[in-house]
Point group: C2
Chain length 300, copies 2
C-alpha cells in the first residue's frame, strides 16, 4: 500500500538522520521512545540531550491512523471519516551559539484510504548570529533539492516559509527561512513525485545541515554570545507555542505532548524590552530577520 | 466620568503595589515606561528585574480607547463601535524557589461610552513547591475580599480560575488557582459594586502576597530547587503563550508586545519527558496541580 511505503521510507529517513547526527555529535546518543496512540498507530520519538555538540535534538517519526474528529474535519475542510498520517519532524538546538538551530519536517496525510491525499513539509534555519554566506549556502542547497522536481517550487515555497515562520508581534522572521509547503499532490496527480520530493529533502538533510555544524561547532564564544542565544531561543519558543500550526494542531488534537514540545529550546530567557547595541553583531542579525531577502542573489 | 474615575483608581492601585513591592525587595527599582497607543490612550509599564527578592516583576497600567476592530467585535460579540479599556495587570517571578509566582489583573471595558460595560479580573498563585498551609491562607485571604461583595462569588470565581488556569496538554493546573471572573456588572446593575470589588482586590494585593514573600524569601535552596523552578517556569510560559486569552487578545489586537509579554519568566528550561522522583517534594507538588481542590477546607 502506498501509505505503508511512505511510512517505511520516512522511518528510514529518521534512522539515517539519527546516525549522522550522532556521528557529528561524537558524545551524545538519542534515546528511543516508542509510543502507541489510542485510536491507532504510534511513533518513535528520539531525543538527544546534553551531547557534545547538540544541547537538545529531537527527531520524531510517527504513523498514526483512526477516525477524524470534528475539529480536525473543520480544520482540514473535509467530509472524510478515516485518516492516516505519517511524518518525520526534527528540531535541533546546538550548544555553540554560532551553530544555527534547524527544523525540518516531511509529512503525508491521507483521508479515507486515499480518497484525498497530500504531502507537506519544509526546512528552515534559525541562526543565533546570521552569517550571510552560510544563509546563502543553505538556500542554494535547499533549492538544488527542489529544482529536480519543479523549477518553480523553490521561489514559491521560499515565500511560503517567509510568511509562515514569522512572528507578527515582533515583526521579525524566526530566522533566515528556507522552504515550507503543504497539501502538494492533493489534485491527485503527481503524488508519487511529491513523495520523491519529500524523501529527497529528508535524505538531503545531513548534507544540508551538518557542514554548517562542522564549520562552527568548535568556535569559541563568550557569555554575551550565550545570553543572545538564550534570547533568540525565547523567540523560538514564542513562535512554536503561539503560532506554529503543527504544534497547535498536535496539542488540540490530543497528540503526544512530549513529542510535540520536544521542539522547545533547552533553555530560554526573557528580558524586558531588550534591544541589541547599535553596531553590534546582535543588531546585525536583528536587522536581517525580515521577509523577502533574496538569499540566493545576495552580495556578501 | 465613570471611566475616568475607574482609570484614576486603577492607576493609584498600580502605585500602591509598586511602593510595597519595592519595599519588600529592598534593592530593585521599577523602571517607568510610559507608552502611547496609536489610536488612543496609552499606559505605564513598570518592570523590576534582578532585584534582591524579585527576579522579574511587571506591574502594568493602561487606559486605552478607540475604534473596535472587526476581530475584536467578533471576540466580544458586540455591534458597538468605540471602546474604552483600563486595567492593572501584574506577574511576579521571585528569585527564591520557595516564593510563589503570582498574577493579578483587574480590568474595566466599556463600549460606546457605556452602552455596554463590565469588569473582570482575578488573582492566582503558582508555587514552585506547593505549601498546602500557604495555599489555604491565600484562598482564605482572597475569599475574605470577595465575601464583602457577594457571598457566592468566591466559589463561583474559584471554579472559573480552576478551569481557566489549566494546561490541557499537560493535564495540570498552572498552580493552586485563586479566582477569575469576567464580564461582571454587564447586566447594567451593580457596576459600581463591581468597581468596588476590583478596587478592593487591587488594594488587598500587598496584604495577600507579601506575607508569602517575607516568610520564604530568605529560605536556603539547592541547585535542584532552582532546576525545578526553571521547569515550572516553562509551564508558565506554555500557558501564557498557548492559552492565556489576555495574551492572545493583546498580541492579535496589536497591543504593546513588551508590556504583554512581561509576564514571561526571566528564564525557563524544557527537558524532554521529565518527571519528578517518586516520593520527592517535586512529585508532591506535581500531584497537587489539579482542579477542584477545596483549599479552604483542606486538612493539612
Amino acid at each position: 500500500m502506498f501509505s505503508e511505503e511512505v511510512a517505511a521510507a520516512f522511518k528510514k529517513i529518521q534512522d539515517k538522520i539519527i546516525v549522522n547526527l550522532e556521528k557529528e555529535d561524537g558524545v551524545g546518543e538519542f534515546i528511543v521512545d516508542n509510543w502507541a496512540r489510542q485510536g491507532g498507530g504510534g511513533g518513535i520519538t528520539r531525543v538527544l540531550e546534553n551531547g557534545g555538540v547538540f544541547e537538545k535534538a529531537g527527531v520524531n517519526f510517527s504513523a498514526v491512523h483512526g477516525e477524524l474528529s470534528n475539529e480536525v474535519r473543520n480544520v482540514l475542510q473535509t467530509e472524510g471519516k478515516g485518516f492516516f498520517a505519517t511524518g518525520v519532524s526534527l528540531v535541533i538546538h546546538p550548544k555553540n551559539p554560532f551553530v544555527p538551530i534547524i527544523h525540518m519536517n516531511i509529512r503525508y496525510f491521507e483521508i479515507d484510504n486515499g480518497a484525498q491525499a497530500w504531502f507537506g513539509g519544509g526546512i528552515d534555519l534559525t541562526p543565533i548570529y546570521i552569517n550571510e554566506a552560510e544563509a546563502t549556502q543553505f538556500h542554494t542547497d535547499v533549492r538544488s533539492v527542489l529544482d529536480v522536481f519543479d523549477a518553480s517550487y523553490y521561489l514559491k515555497f521560499k515565500k511560503w516559509a517567509d510568511d509562515y515562520f514569522f512572528l507578527p508581534h515582533r515583526n521579525e522572521t524566526r530566522g533566515v527561512g528556507g522552504v515550507f509547503f503543504d497539501r502538494i499532490g492533493i489534485e491527485g496527480k503527481d503524488l508519487a513525485n511529491c513523495f520523491s520530493l519529500c524523501s529527497a529533502l529528508g535524505n538531503a538533510f545531513p548534507d544540508i545541515y551538518l557542514p554548517l555544524v562542522s564549520l562552527n561547532k568548535n568556535r569559541s564564544f563568550t557569555r554575551e554570545n550565550l545570553f543572545w542565544q538564550s534570547l533568540r531561543r525565547s523567540r523560538y519558543a514564542e513562535f512554536n507555542l503561539a503560532y506554529d500550526r503543527g504544534t497547535k494542531f498536535g496539542l488540540e488534537s490530543n497528540g503526544r505532548t512530549e513529542s510535540i514540545l520536544m521542539s522547545l529550546p533547552p533553555m530560554a530567557k526573557w528580558v524586558y524590552n531588550y534591544s541589541p547595541e547599535p553596531g553590534s553583531e546582535e543588531e546585525k542579525t536583528q536587522l536581517l530577520l525580515r521577509k523577502d531577502i533574496d538569499w540566493l542573489n545576495r552580495n556578501v
